[in-house]
Symmetry: none
Subunit: 281 residues, 2 copies
Amino acid sequence: MDSQESGSNEGRRARGRPRDWHDKTEQNTIKSLDRAMAVLEYLSRSQGLPLTRIAEDMGQSPATVYRVLVTLEGRGLVEFDGEDQLWNIGPGAFVIGARFLRRTSLVDRARPIMRKLMEDTGETANLGIEKEGSVLFLSQVETHETIRAFFPPGTLSDMHASGIGKALMAHMEADRLQRVLAKSSLQAFTDHTITDRDALLNDLAQIRDRGFSIDNEERTAGMRCIAAPVFDMNGEAVAGISVSGPTSRVTPEDVARLSAPVTEAAKALTQAIGGVAPALS
Amino acid sequence: MDSQESGSNEGRRARGRPRDWHDKTEQNTIKSLDRAMAVLEYLSRSQGLPLTRIAEDMGQSPATVYRVLVTLEGRGLVEFDGEDQLWNIGPGAFVIGARFLRRTSLVDRARPIMRKLMEDTGETANLGIEKEGSVLFLSQVETHETIRAFFPPGTLSDMHASGIGKALMAHMEADRLQRVLAKSSLQAFTDHTITDRDALLNDLAQIRDRGFSIDNEERTAGMRCIAAPVFDMNGEAVAGISVSGPTSRVTPEDVARLSAPVTEAAKALTQAIGGVAPALS
DNA sequence: TTGAATTTTTCATATTATGAAAAACGCTTT
DNA sequence: AAAGCGTTTTTCATAATATGAAAAATTCAA
């Protein structure tokens, strides 16, 4: 879907020092390693691929891809299903990746708050942050109901079609918002998706005013979502908390009922990470 | 804790075909890639390391480690904090790793492990999770013996009278345990059932210490059961594995013999689902 | 400014990653 | 059973490139 080949290198200048020249870090990338990581990434996107297909799709020889896979397998990053001869992402990759969450205490702090939110509302609670212009879902607490909104952690989603995404955008500085919007094509996922830039800006203004956002079947038909922003110590929106559920249980009338617990949870998390809500402008 | 350096290669023989020779897959591992993955893994274990320390600890030159990190950074697998010059696991690693979860369920992961457990012990192996204060049996692999412990998948059972239930309770947070116990009446099923709250708490402490639980005819007269907990990525006990059999074949003396395979199986499943045992307190 | 510590870059070299092709292997067909 | 076919491993020669030492660049602290 997005970048596959060369990794985009920017701004890893030590101590944030500026540089006149273009970063020549490309000279510093290790080709074989980068190709191997491309394989890993590609493999993670699919669910089970045979060796030859990977080699084909990546434009590398089967022998090389084979060795890459065997090496990664040695560390559990990928695994091989002897039954149907398919390669897959392995638990080791998950273990490593999951440690990303541990880095910030955000997820840990959020868990009890999310659990309470789920119990109060009865709907699945989600936690997400912004990552390179998309919403990255970090954690969720599922409802007990049989019909569930399921957004597995690790999922990336377009910001304009996400409750958390819109809550985050609503509190971005103007220029940063412009950059994010410039990258986005405002793709339509349902006929409720906001695809018009001005309409989106309008919605964001409303969200800022009332303190929470509504995803009204904008990403998935039949699913509504209510989200609120979480702020860090500088008053920047760094995360969002939401509840999501089927339209049958989350009607427009329910929004009023659900918005309070959501904004409360967001405030509680803001406090838990030592953040402060920004001064209203 | 366990294997850190060289990845352990075993059994990625296609279609389970046997081989006379030792697997020479070690010849197929790509050294540079393996070293790079060691860096990634090492970095994930810590939370923020400067370049020089990584190089030192890995016994590689700073230049090489630098190039590895820059390459990985290009794909978001690691990131660099210009503020304090520290390298960290990046969101890209989480995105890739999280896709592991989408693939197979706990039950699928458990099946081969349970089969081996059954073969090692000769007794029926069971898998269960907690569901609303009860143990829900998800799967079992039956022994070949004619006298069998039979717990059909889907069965709900009281936690306090179940090996798996007690293993799960032993690793619950205090307040959650209180809530579960509050709901339970500690009903007696046999005259071995633990109906006293303090006696149960005592048993749970023992279970935590030795790593496995024993159901000594507490649910069904004539049946013993040994269970161990399975942990998820957060170190929470999310499932339990057990073997159960008639008292004739599972005597108190047999417990010592059987407990090792059970705890091993639980550990294997923990690893297979990308979980980690919690830090002992 | 000078100095110390860390990082990037340069460069020559040997390591080793790589692809072609052959071998081994599993599954299907005759 | 045996042969055929599509895979996956292994072998091997070669070129690519990963690597470390040391120099250069950079930042922070006095």
